[in-house]
Structure formats: structure tokens, C-alpha cells
């Protein structure tokens, strides 16, 4: 018999080689996406450095000045908000194509409630003077607060989210087809609602854009004048502004004066620098011409002129009392915290510090570049934090993973899989509503095409972040990274010179495919079949 006799019988575990440190890292689902994200940040930085300049630090490019950071983070976090809902839903084994339409619907409802008010109207058939339909207004609120507007909108969107989930778990139909129905239904409904309600009583057809919503987040309580929009308050008559100045404490006035003096000096210095560069540039061109034509006398004169070039020095503007009053109005806190929560700015003190103390957040004209970051970043951050805790630390998280990973196993162990799925459909609708609220309160407008294609972007972001479409696999960190990749590539490609901006879509298509392949590989690695 040809068999080996060994002292130590070979165990099952001996067949697995001990994992090396790098293969342990490579088995983490976030590795690939983080790499791509870093590459994109590098690209954005490197290509946004102005031509002719050289820097070893890619992050000195214009893609990373204060304003660009503000704008890039908005793109990323808005997508991140919906990707969070889409991602969790995919992990539970379903997906939602109605997110984009839900955004349009929520934005429209919210904006119209803010613009026109909210009423519950009951139609009934009247027989007086021929059969026709009359309406009975149960109640009507004309001045709806931001919180109430968001709450009413949430009632509608959560209902539609619940309905889609309910239909899917009850009928056993694929979520693809049910939510595709939702995509058409909600977009159509949104357009109908706009045409039916978004109009003055004397108009026949409504407009597909809601405008003239007051700048709610910038309503402040001005002493002696009550609640006013900032811009309106600043354009009050001079006498009123001077009157207001008397109510401001002395220390505040001093602080504001100091601030304004700094700004005026910075503006003046920038202006002088700009003028000087402009003047010197003209002289240098003349010098070039003189050199090529060999006019030595002229060359000497021009060189002398460049060396001693002087512009008429602009002295800083004097801080006036009206300026102080206006600046004071700017520093007042919003009287509508909910609107400010969705549409306002965050971490302004940091950006002030970067301007006044660090002297970095400065544009070419000496003014502050960015006031702060868009508040949707905070909302994204809060959502992501909650999702992270729920998905990886709580019972609900284990239920979500098992519902997507092995539905029958989850059912057999008493997991209420239908509840899990329906809740996640509602969460996806909730995320879409948050997205819409951020847009409406930030821009004070809404229109029917808002959120178009966002459902596919959200799914793509989740897949790029390592979520497997068949469910059961993915992490919140991955979804965050996926949204960052999607958002940043939208920006980075526009900075590459001689490059069509639409290449970002080509790039994303490839990244998406590569991610899907990598995810499948990692999934197999985790379940041990590789």
C-alpha cells in the first residue's frame, strides 16, 4: 500500500495557507475604492495647478482652494446622501430605481408648500345647477414653517416608499420592475402636480419651476424691525441702519470694525498687486519687442521703468457706520433654524479663521473666498454615522445583512425580513427627501426635472464602494468612498487641459465595471472559495 505514515495527522486547517498581511488587507472590501479615490484626488490637485507653475504638492492646485472644496464637497455629499439609502437597500437584496423621481417629487411638494401653503381639499359631486364637482376646503395653512413643510413632504414620500416595499414583499415581484414603475409614476405625478397647483389663481396652467420662494434660511431677527431677509435688512434706509447701530454693544462694534478694517486692507493690497502685475505685463511685452528689434536705448529705458514701476496706491476704504450695521446683520443667526439646517452653511468660524488668521481663504480680489461648507455635508455625515452604527453594531444591521445574504436562513431564524425590506425602502425615500430638502432650502427653487438619473448614480456609487448587487455584502465606509469617487471624478476631469469633460462618464463606466468584478472576487474570497 502506497500511503504515507506521519506522526501528525494532517488537519483540515492545514490546507489553508496562513494569510499574509497584504492579502488580509486586500480582502477588505474598501481597498480598491480607496485607491481609486486617492488617485482621483491626486489628479484633481495636479491638473488644477495653473499652467506654467510647478508644485511638488498636488494639493496646491485650484481644485483645492476654499471655494472648490466647498463646491466639490457639495457634489459628493448630495450624492452620498442618496447613495446611503440605495446602498443599505442593496445590501438587503433589493434596489430602488425611484430615488431620482422621489427627489423631484419631494422637492416639488416641499417648494410648493413653502410657496403657496398647504390645504386639505375634499372634492364632492354637486347636483345644484347640473352635475359637477365642487370642492370643500377642510383647512388651509398659508404660511407653512420649514419644519412643517419637510414633515408633510416626508409623510408623502415615506408613504410611497412603504407602498413600493409593501408591493414587493407581498407580491414577490422583482424590485427592479416595481420601482421602475415608481420611477415613471412619481415623475409623471410630479409634473401633474406642478401644472395643477404651481400657479396664481388667475393663471390657467402652472409652471414647471417654483420660484419666488423667500430666502428662508437667511431670515434674521433685526432689532426694531422684526423678521427680515438679510438682503432686505441690509438695504434698509441709512437712517434705520444707523439707528440699528445704536443697539449694538460696544465690544461687538469694535470687533466688527477690526474685521472690516482687515478686509478693506486685504482688498486694497490685492488691488495694488493686480494693477502692478497688469502694468508690468504691458511693459515686459514692450521690452520683448525692443529686444528683438535691437533698440538698445529703448531696452534700457524699459528695464529702468520695470524696476521702478509704481502704481497709484489705492488706500484701504474707511469703515463706515453703515458698513458696520450691514456686517452686523450678516452676523445675526438665522431665525429659521430648520431651513438653515438644510440649506445653510456650516463651520463658518473655521473658514473665517482661515481667512482672518491663516490668510489662506482669500480670492484674487482680497475678499473671503468661501463662507463655509454646504450643510448637506453635515446631513450626509450624520446619516452616514447613524447608518454605520446601525449596520455594523446593531441587531437591525445583522438582520439587514442576513436578509440580503440568505433570505431563507434569515426567515428560518425568525428575522422579520419583510419588515426589514419595507423599512429600507422607506429609508431610501427618506434619503431622497433629505436630498430634496437640501436643494430646496439652499437654492430656493425647485423644478420637475430635479434628481433626474440620481437613482442610477446612487446605485453606481454604492457598487463602486464595494456593495454587491445580489445583496448581503457591503459596508457604510465603502458607500461613503463610492460617493466620493463618483463626485470627485465629475470635478477632476474638467480640470484636465485639452480633455473633454465628458470623459468622466467613460472613466466611471470603467470604474463601475472594475468595481463590480472586484467586489465579486472579494465576496468569493470572504466565503472562502478563492
Amino acid at each position: 500500500m502506497n500511503s504515507k505514515s506521519v506522526n501528525q495527522p494532517r488537519k483540515e486547517s492545514d490546507r489553508h495557507d496562513a494569510k499574509r498581511w497584504y492579502s488580509a488587507i486586500l480582502a477588505r472590501p474598501e481597498v480598491g475604492p480607496v485607491g481609486v479615490m486617492l488617485l482621483l484626488f491626486g489628479m484633481l490637485g495636479y491638473f488644477s495647478i495653473p499652467s506654467g507653475e510647478f508644485s511638488l504638492n498636488p494639493f496646491s492646485g485650484e481644485g483645492f482652494n476654499a471655494l472648490a472644496i466647498r463646491n466639490n464637497l457639495r457634489v459628493i455629499s448630495q450624492l452620498g446622501i442618496v447613495a446611503m439609502g440605495a446602498g443599505l437597500l442593496i445590501i438587503s437584496g433589493e434596489f430602488d430605481l425611484s430615488i431620482g423621481s422621489m427627489i423631484g417629487f419631494a422637492g416639488g411638494v416641499m417648494a410648493m408648500i413653502l410657496r403657496w401653503g398647504f390645504a386639505v381639499v375634499i372634492p364632492y359631486v354637486s347636483f345644484e345647477g347640473g352635475i359637477h364637482i365642487e370642492t370643500f376646503t377642510l383647512f388651509k395653512i398659508t404660511d407653512v414653517s420649514p419644519l412643517l413643510a419637510v414633515s408633510i413632504t416626508l409623510c408623502f414620500t415615506l408613504f410611497f416608499g412603504w407602498l413600493q416595499g409593501f408591493i414587493i414583499v407581498r407580491s414577490g415581484l422583482a424590485s427592479f420592475i416595481v420601482t421602475l414603475g415608481g420611477l415613471f409614476f412619481l415623475r409623471g405625478l410630479t409634473e401633474i402636480i406642478y401644472r395643477a397647483f404651481n400657479k396664481r389663481p388667475d393663471q390657467t396652467a402652472g409652471s414647471t419651476t417654483v420660484t419666488e420662494i423667500p430666502d428662508i434660511k437667511n431670515i434674521v431677527n433685526v432689532p426694531g424691525h422684526g423678521e427680515l431677509e438679510r438682503e432686505v435688512a441690509k438695504s434698509l434706509p441709512q437712517a434705520d441702519l444707523l439707528e440699528l447701530l445704536k443697539t449694538i454693544p460696544e465690544t461687538t462694534v469694535l470687533k466688527i470694525t477690526e474685521k472690516l478694517t482687515y478686509i478693506n486692507e486685504s482688498v486694497a493690497a490685492s488691488k495694488n498687486l493686480l494693477l502692478k502685475n497688469k502694468g508690468v505685463k504691458g511693459l515686459e511685452k514692450s521690452l520683448e519687442n525692443a529686444l528683438s528689434s535691437g533698440n538698445e536705448g529703448m531696452v534700457a529705458i524699459l528695464q529702468d521703468k520695470i524696476a521702478n514701476f509704481q502704481v497709484e496706491i489705492t488706500s484701504p476704504r474707511i469703515v463706515s457706520d453703515v458698513d458696520i450695521a450691514k456686517e452686523y446683520i450678516d452676523t445675526l443667526h438665522s431665525a429659521r433654524p430648520v431651513a438653515n439646517f438644510f440649506g445653510g452653511d456650516i463651520i463658518e468660524p473655521v473658514f473665517d479663521w482661515l481667512y482672518f488668521t491663516v490668510n489662506w481663504n482669500v480670492n484674487n480680489y482680497g475678499n473671503q473666498f468661501a463662507d463655509g461648507l454646504y450643510s448637506c455635508l453635515m446631513i450626509w455625515f450624520l446619516l452616514a454615522l447613524i447608518c454605520y452604527v446601525v449596520l455594523s453594531k446593531t441587531q437591525a444591521g445583522n438582520w439587514i445583512y442576513s436578509t440580503g445574504g440568505n433570505l431563507n436562513a434569515a426567515k428560518a431564524n425568525g428575522v422579520p425580513t419583510n419588515k426589514v425590506k419595507v423599512s429600507l425602502f422607506m429609508f431610501s425615500a427618506f434619503c431622497a427627501t433629505m436630498f430634496a430638502a437640501c436643494q430646496v432650502f439652499e437654492t430656493n427653487t425647485a423644478d420637475t426635472s430635479k434628481g433626474n438619473l440620481k437613482e442610477l448614480e446612487a446605485i453606481a456609487a454604492a457598487v463602486i464602494g464595494g456593495v454587491v448587487l445580489t445583496g448581503g455584502f457591503g459596508t457604510v465606509v465603502g458607500i461613503i468612498v463610492g460617493a466620493a469617487i463618483f463626485g470627485i471624478s465629475k470635478e477632476a476631469f474638467f480640470y484636465i487641459p485639452y480633455f473633454d469633460g465628458s470623459f468622466y462618464r467613460v472613466f466611471l463606466g470603467i470604474v463601475l465595471l472594475a468595481s463590480a468584478l472586484a467586489n465579486e472576487n472579494i465576496r468569493k474570497r470572504v466565503i472562502g472559495s478563492v
Binding site: 483540515e12 446593531t394 437591525a396 445583522n398 442576513s402 436562513a409 448581503g472 455584502f473 472562502g528
Partner: protein
């Protein structure tokens, strides 16, 4: 063995699906510390019987007594609350998540409000390791995905889970099918260890009479929804088992049948 009271008594159990009679008066008793092998060909009614016992289907007629008390299960939850733990063929495991997460799936130890309670992973990991060790598998890392475990280990995990969550009557649905030789032995070892715990009654459903003979104390043979034979392991001869497995046909007849096939 008769000095013990049966943990589960099944008396004249009938289950009809419309006009189809799946079980036609099945009776059997299972005692603690014993393995009761339930054998029969495809369609004999084994699956229907365990589904009735585990609360998936309600019985049409007949009596089921657990610990001397009559029970009528309306849902799998009620059956598992009464102490009947069923380990299905697909094991009800999620290969993508960790051993601990599977062990406690649906019954997580948590602190906090409702489903959003924080899972106590450390405690859960310790319990998982301990319970797996009790029936013979020493896992190195309770955080490893179930997908990395062998079929035998998965079977053990499912059995340990059922026992930990209060199963007094353990129903194993073809635990050795679709496994390699070595892993089959692993599972049988596990079954033996559970039997040795002494207080758990095991119903072992299998196609494989060799495996049944290795661990079972009692046999019941089903055919076409009826019991066609039963007895203690010591009373049954090898030919009896083979004959009864084939649904009562003589093994000699089968051989003849085969010969006639051209």
C-alpha cells in the same frame, strides 16, 4: 430504556394537503438521550412529518405531546419555544457573515431600544466559542465568515445554535447528505456528543442506513405516509433495514427487477 418518559410523543398523526394524504396515522416516541432515526424513501412523508413537528404546517388530525403536554403549533416560533429545534438541510446560515452573527441571528444579545439595540459582540463571541466547543469544534476565530467553514463545521454550528437556544428535541434533516466522507464522520461525532449530553432527544432523518446504524438507538421506517416498521437498533438485522428502506420491498425482488432491465 422504557423507564424514561418520551420527550415527544406522536400519536396517529394525519396530514392532508387537499385530497392528498401525506401522513396517514403516524405514531412514534422519542426519548431523551436517544437518537431516533427516521428512514424512508423519497416521498415517504419524512419531510412533511418534520414540517408538522417544527410548526411549518398544522396537523390535520392526531396528537403531538411534548413532555406529556399536548401541543398545537401555529408557527415555527411556537415550535421552537416549545423546545423543538430543527436543523434544515440548507442549515439556515448566511455564509457572508461571521460565525457569531449566524449563531445569534434573530436572537442577538443587545442593549438598547428594540432592533436598534447595540449587539454585545464580546459576550456573543465567548458564548459561540464555548457552545461550539461543547459539541466538539474548536473555532479559532468567531469573527470568521461562515463561508470559510467546512460543511461539517457548518452542521455543528447549526446544531450548537439550536441546542443553545433551548432545543430539547433536535430534528436533523439529512445532516450527512452532500458531504464528503470525513465530514460525514465529523457530523456523526457531533450527533454522538449531543446524544451523550443525555437530556436531548434527536430525530435523525436520513437516506443512509449505514450512518443511521452507527449512531441511532431506535428506528422508524416510513413509506407512503405510514409507519411500516420500527424497533430498537439491537433488534433490527441488516436485511430488515435494507428491506424497510426500500419501502417494504424485498431486496431480492429489487435485484430481480434490476436483472429484468435490459
Amino acid at each position: 430504556m422504557t423507564d424514561k418518559n418520551p420527550l415527544i410523543e406522536i400519536n396517529q398523526l394525519v396530514k392532508k394537503f387537499g385530497s392528498f394524504t401525506a401522513l396517514n396515522g403516524v405514531s412514534l416516541n422519542v426519548y431523551p438521550g436517544e437518537v431516533h432515526a427516521l428512514l424512508g424513501d423519497n416521498g415517504a412523508g419524512k419531510s412533511t412529518l418534520i414540517k408538522v413537528l417544527s410548526g411549518v404546517h398544522a396537523a390535520t388530525d392526531g396528537i403531538i405531546k411534548v413532555d406529556g403536554k399536548e401541543v398545537h403549533f401555529k408557527s415555527p416560533r411556537e415550535a421552537s419555544d416549545a423546545g423543538i429545534g430543527t436543523v434544515y438541510q440548507d442549515l439556515a446560515l448566511n455564509a457572508l457573515t461571521s460565525v457569531t452573527r449566524n449563531f445569534f441571528l434573530g436572537r442577538e444579545i443587545k442593549k438598547g431600544p428594540g432592533a436598534f439595540g447595540i449587539m454585545q459582540m464580546k459576550e456573543m463571541n465567548e458564548i459561540t466559542m464555548r457552545e461550539m466547543k461543547k459539541i466538539g469544534i474548536n473555532i479559532a476565530n468567531p469573527e470568521q465568515p461562515v463561508g470559510t467553514m467546512s460543511g461539517g463545521q457548518r452542521q455543528t454550528l447549526a446544531i450548537a445554535r439550536a441546542i443553545y437556544f433551548g432545543a430539547k428535541i433536535l430534528i436533523l434533516d439529512e445532516p450527512t447528505s452532500a458531504l464528503g466522507q470525513k465530514q460525514q464522520m465529523e457530523v456523526l461525532k457531533t450527533v454522538k456528543r449531543v446524544k451523550n449530553l443525555g437530556n436531548i432527544a434527536i430525530i435523525l432523518i436520513t437516506h443512509n442506513e449505514i450512518h443511521a446504524r452507527l449512531v441511532a438507538d431506535r428506528f422508524t421506517f416510513l413509506s407512503l405516509g405510514e409507519v411500516i416498521g420500527s424497533g430498537l437498533s439491537s433488534e433490527l438485522g441488516g436485511d430488515d433495514v435494507k428491506r424497510l428502506m426500500a419501502g417494504g420491498a424485498d431486496i431480492g425482488d429489487l435485484a430481480k427487477e434490476l436483472e429484468n432491465v435490459t
